[in-house]
């Protein structure tokens, strides 16, 4: 699949109506940066919202200025003739609140102090994001989404949409996700956060004023994350125990391919991502638990949902394993809701949701064909 949208443009919308966050803090005003692909039909029934995961953003598909390096993070999924077909759907990608790619976040200027928010930026939750996305939908004139879709943390947003705004979404596609994190998941996140907050360049979150970034901490956080996104098999397959030199050097320099890969990925990420955003996003993951308010019964939490669901998991995903997706499926079935579930054979671990895979794409394509019928 090489059909692409070509060049795309981000847009920004400023919201001056205060947003009451789950934490109790009120954000007086904020901006959301977003992109749209395809055309909104006349009855505005073909809009699809793509929610991003931990390190994603609004740039879902297409390129900037013909530069192939700027390709969107889900370009294999979204575009003309692709599973999320922009010839048929009006697709919206939005950078979540707290992000670092244009939407208001910790690196944005706090109007109250004229300094970057830094440590003052409030914690945001999946519910808060959904609320802010709904306001963007209001602005764009979309009363009801044909579908809300996301992988991982993005899938949590799709699930939350079905609870927060049952009348405003017809289909939710929840991919490689979970109804809440396990203690192990939170543990990984906490190690990542500690790597960042103990970096001497973190300055309690106010590193912007010191003209430094906690590069080492963020790099470590990403290296750890990367290990958990891949499977043992995929790593062995890709790197094995290969040395980058012919013989061991008995030093702490990079020796194994996997070390080189992780360092490279860590550096690349730390160069482009904001450390405070990383902290906020991981906390949003940790806090997500829609069943908390309903006696820890996910089926009770989902009893308000009205949309249809597609749930997808991947066999080698141990971060958000298939059994976590099945918890969602079972809760939906208890409510006699419409749901299809596919467990896709893949060796790529949690990252599978971002990869091209014939079975996975066939499932999404077949499902979206049904979504189209609901837009007519």
């Amino acid at each position: 699949m090489n059909l692409s949208l070509g060049n795309v443009q981000p847009q920004t919308k400023r919201f001056v109506e205060p947003l009451a966050l789950s934490s109790g803090i009120i954000l007086p005003e904020y901006e959301l940066v977003y992109e749209t692909y395809g055309e909104l039909n006349q009855n505005k029934s073909n809009a699809v919202l793509i929610c991003h995961a931990l390190s994603g953003n609004h740039h879902v598909a297409g390129l900037y200025n013909d530069d192939p390096k700027t390709i969107g993070w889900w370009d294999n999924m979204v575009g003309p003739g692709k599973p999320i077909d922009t010839n048929r759907f009006f697709v919206i990608g939005v950078n979540n609140l707290g992000g670092c790619h244009g939407s208001t976040g910790p690196s944005s200027i706090n109007p109250a102090t004229q300094q970057p928010y830094g440590a003052d930026f409030p914690f945001v939750t999946v519910e808060d994001w959904v609320l802010s996305q709904a306001r963007l939908a209001d602005y764009l004139g979309i009363e009801c989404f044909a579908a809300v879709m996301g992988g991982s943390l993005g899938g949590m947003q799709a699930l939350q949409w079905s609870i927060s705004f049952p009348e405003r979404v017809k289909h939710a596609l929840v991919i490689a996700s979970a109804p809440k994190l396990s203690a192990q998941n939170i543990g990984f996140n906490e190690v990542a956060r500690q790597a960042i907050t103990t970096d001497p360049h973190f300055f309690g979150g106010d590193f912007y004023q010191h003209q430094v970034v906690p590069h080492r901490g963020l790099r470590l956080a990403r290296m750890l994350g990367h290990i958990t996104y891949l499977s043992d098999d995929a790593m062995m397959e890709k790197f094995g125990r290969d040395l980058i030199t012919s013989t061991p050097k008995f030093s702490l320099d990079v020796e194994f391919e996997i070390e080189s890969y992780l360092r490279y990925q860590g550096d690349k990420f730390a160069d482009r991502f904001d450390a405070n955003t990383y902290l906020i996003m991981t906390k949003a993951l940790d806090y997500f638990d829609p069943a908390q308010k309903t006696d820890n019964r996910l089926d009770f939490a989902l009893s308000v949902a009205r949309c249809r669901f597609l749930i997808v998991s991947f066999t080698s995903d141990w971060r958000f394993s298939p059994s976590r997706s099945e918890e969602i499926v079972e809760a939906l079935m208890k409510n006699q809701l419409s749901v299809s579930y596919a467990e896709i054979e893949s060796s790529q671990g949690h990252d599978s949701f971002l990869m091209e895979n014939d079975d996975y794409f066939s499932v999404v394509k077949a499902y979206m064909n049904n979504v189209v019928k609901d837009t007519l």
Binding site: L310, M333, V339, V363, N369
Partner: protein
């Protein structure tokens, strides 16, 4: 053209009822029941290609290996659980029969009748049987638990499963006379004796 065995199943299904179709394949049966009897529910299927076809047919489908049972499905949450030409390919026959009548008030079980005279004849002539309902060779068949009408009814008795209705068909026609000998496909509507 709707398959005759699907039409028979349809006659056993109440309008607007909740149905679970185990081993739903491409979802043809569920689609027929949805269109004609306005049932709701799910198909269960292990093969991803068939999951895709079922979705394309507008059927809710859950990808799962039936050998692991119906864990996660709530007790008595379906009016009817269907096991259409799948029983004979299952390893844990008793476990699945019990589990389907745990989640469903009624069950519909269909399977190729090994006692069909054409099958018996082939065995007599010295070969494993092949037929319209059992189209495989002995070395590539997924069928591991073949049985006759008598065998199935005996198992039901042992498992305290009551046969509500039985319909036996051969090549698209109902069979009334000597069904264990003349019937190619056995169809049972069953429930648990309480």
């Amino acid at each position: 053209m709707i398959r005759f065995d699907h039409q028979v199943i349809g006659q056993w299904i109440k309008q607007g009822s909740r149905v679970l179709d185990l081993g739903c394949g491409d979802g043809q049966l569920m689609k027929y029941l949805q269109d004609k009897y306005h049932v709701s529910g799910y198909g269960v299927e292990i093969e991803v290609e068939r999951v895709v076809s079922a979705i394309a047919n507008g059927v809710n489908v859950i990808q799962r290996d039936l050998e692991s049972g119906l864990l996660g499905f709530t007790e008595q949450s379906f009016d009817t659980v269907i096991l259409s030409q799948t029983l004979q390919a299952m390893r844990k026959t008793e476990f699945l029969l019990n589990d389907m009548l745990r989640v469903g008030r009624e069950g519909i079980v269909t399977f190729p009748n090994f006692g069909y005279w054409k099958n018996r004849w082939q065995v007599l002539t010295g070969y494993m049987p092949k037929s319209e309902d059992m189209p495989y060779e002995w070395h590539n068949t997924p069928n591991i638990h073949l049985c006759t009408l008598n065998d199935f009814e005996r198992l039901c008795e042992r498992l305290q499963i009551k046969v509500i209705e039985r319909h036996v068909i051969t090549e698209g026609k109902s069979v009334h006379l000597a069904p264990n000998l003349l019937g190619g496909l056995a169809m049972y509507r069953v429930t648990k004796i309480t």
